[in-house]
């Protein structure tokens, strides 16, 4: 399997506090990698280093390298806007803009200079089709995105993220705020999207990691305890701390 993201000896500090300790990890291309672990273990922090979302937090210091396509994204030549076009993100709470469904999806492409209506129409339709929302909204594209249900809003956010053709999609507990049916739809969607994108997801729901992901990484106190094929990690974990966590003995 080709590696999409190569993390090397990564340390991350919030002022004096070290949130990530000596992280080295390979994230496979066009596959789903899940980060699991108890609250405060560093899984969301690591996810946010992958498109430099932590840059916005004052006092953050990063050591080591995160290579995407061979380039260290913390290198001097890297423009954060370009990086975030390649590495999209979906958050726990659906966060559509208070605009129409169409404008939500067209927002990114417009920002990157696409003005042709025909081209934008095509991108909006393709993105909504890929996020399995098209059939539900195709007749109401001018309606406010805020009128959609929570699950639909989250699929819209995924459509918005893929409208700029990223290589990588980061999902930070993207189904935590959704009901079981909407969760299932997103899980199915994610399975389809991995044909085109590398997906990294943080989830508190271990069974979701087991159901959906190809590779699972278990974190504890800012360290990676174990990273393996999902089926292996959930059937024969090598570290007793992994076994304890996935069996519900702590966390």
């Amino acid at each position: 399997m080709t590696t999409a993201i190569q993390i090397e000896q990564l340390n991350l500090f919030y002022n004096q506090f070290q949130a990530l300790k000596n992280i080295s990890l390979e994230i496979p291309q066009k596959a789903i990698t899940a980060f699991i672990g108890p609250s405060g273990c560093g899984k969301s922090t690591l996810l946010r280093t992958l498109n430099r979302m932590n840059d916005m937090i004052p006092g953050t210091r990063v050591e080591g390298a995160v290579r995407i396509g061979g380039q260290d994204i913390y290198g001097e030549a890297v423009e954060v806007e370009t990086l975030r076009k390649r590495v999209g993100m979906v958050f726990q709470q659906p966060n559509p803009f208070p605009k129409s469904i169409y404008d939500n999806v067209a927002y990114g492409p417009r920002l990157h200079g696409i003005t042709s209506k025909a081209q934008l129409d095509e991108i909006v339709e393709q993105s909504l089709r890929q996020s399995v929302l098209w059939e539900e909204v195709k007749d109401f594209l001018k309606k406010s995105a805020l009128s959609l249900s929570g699950g639909q809003q989250q699929r819209l956010c995924i459509a918005r993220a893929i409208a700029v053709h990223p290589d990588i999609l980061l999902m930070d507990e993207a189904t935590a705020a959704l009901d079981p049916i909407s969760t299932l739809k997103i899980e199915e969607l994610v399975q389809k999207l991995k044909d085109k994108y590398t997906i990294v997801m943080v989830t508190h729901n271990m069974h979701q990691a087991a159901r959906v992901s190809d590779k699972t990484v278990f974190f504890l106190n800012g360290e990676i305890i174990e990273a393996d094929e999902t089926s292996k990690l959930f059937s024969t974990p090598q570290d007793s701390r992994t076994e304890d966590y996935i069996s519900g003995r702590f966390g």
Binding site: A210, F234, S235, T236, P237, E243, I246, S247, G248, R249
Partner: protein
């Protein structure tokens, strides 16, 4: 965590049910061979009647295990504990059936005199009873060394079994009228040898429970 505590209690319950099944099977084999030795068909009949209890225990294990899979969504070793309980209970149920097959032979031989005093078959059974005990102990204590040691006893069982068959053939050659009984006793040897194979399966399950990999102990 309260939920985990209840789960652990239920897993322990599965373990105890298997232990009870094991004791039941061990008793059935000892009784079946004792009944055969004395051609005591009344004793043999009692074994057949008690098989119902063993089947009920197996059903209880299936019910509890299925319920735990549905309600607890177990992973890793927790899941293996349940899968192994299903497998061992099925092995034990088959072992119980084989003990019944021995009892049925005794009932068929009612009124006859044994063509020879039984020595090898009780010896074979004694060895297999030890294998049953050790295989279950290896599961209960999660002791893989004991499982491998027990599997070695199976070689001795196979050796003793073929010796029993050879001896019975010799008797038939000298006394052709004993053919029918000799064939029945050959079957008994075969049943006991099959019980040993199931004990080896239990040993394999014990190793699988601990390591996540199923070895072939019966080669």
């Amino acid at each position: 965590m309260i939920q985990r505590r209840e789960f652990d209690q239920n897993l322990n319950e599965l373990r105890e049910l298997l232990q009870t099944m094991g004791e039941h099977v061990e008793h059935a084999l000892v009784e079946a061979v004792a009944a055969l030795k004395n051609l005591d068909s009344k004793r043999a009949k009692e074994i057949i009647e008690r098989d119902h209890d063993l089947n009920q225990l197996e059903e209880q294990i299936m019910d509890l295990g299925s319920r735990l899979i549905v309600t607890q969504q177990p992973v890793a070793k927790d899941l293996r504990r349940i899968l192994v309980a299903f497998r061992i209970s099925s092995d034990l149920e088959r072992m119980g059936d084989l003990a019944i097959d021995i009892a049925k032979v005794t009932m068929r031989l009612e009124g006859q005199t044994l063509i020879k005093p039984l020595v090898d078959i009780p010896k074979l059974a004694e060895l297999v009873v030890l294998m049953i005990q050790e295989s279950l102990q290896s599961y209960l204590d999660e002791n893989t060394d004991l499982a491998y040691k027990m599997a070695k006893d199976d070689d001795e069982v196979d050796h003793l079994y073929s010796q029993t068959i050879t001896d019975l053939y010799k008797i038939v050659i000298d006394h052709p009228e004993s053919l029918h009984q000799a064939m029945s006793l050959t079957l008994v040897g075969r049943y006991i040898e099959r019980i040993a194979d199931h004990a080896t399966n239990i040993g394999e399950s014990a190793v699988y429970l601990v390591t996540g990999h199923r070895p072939d102990l019966n080669h």
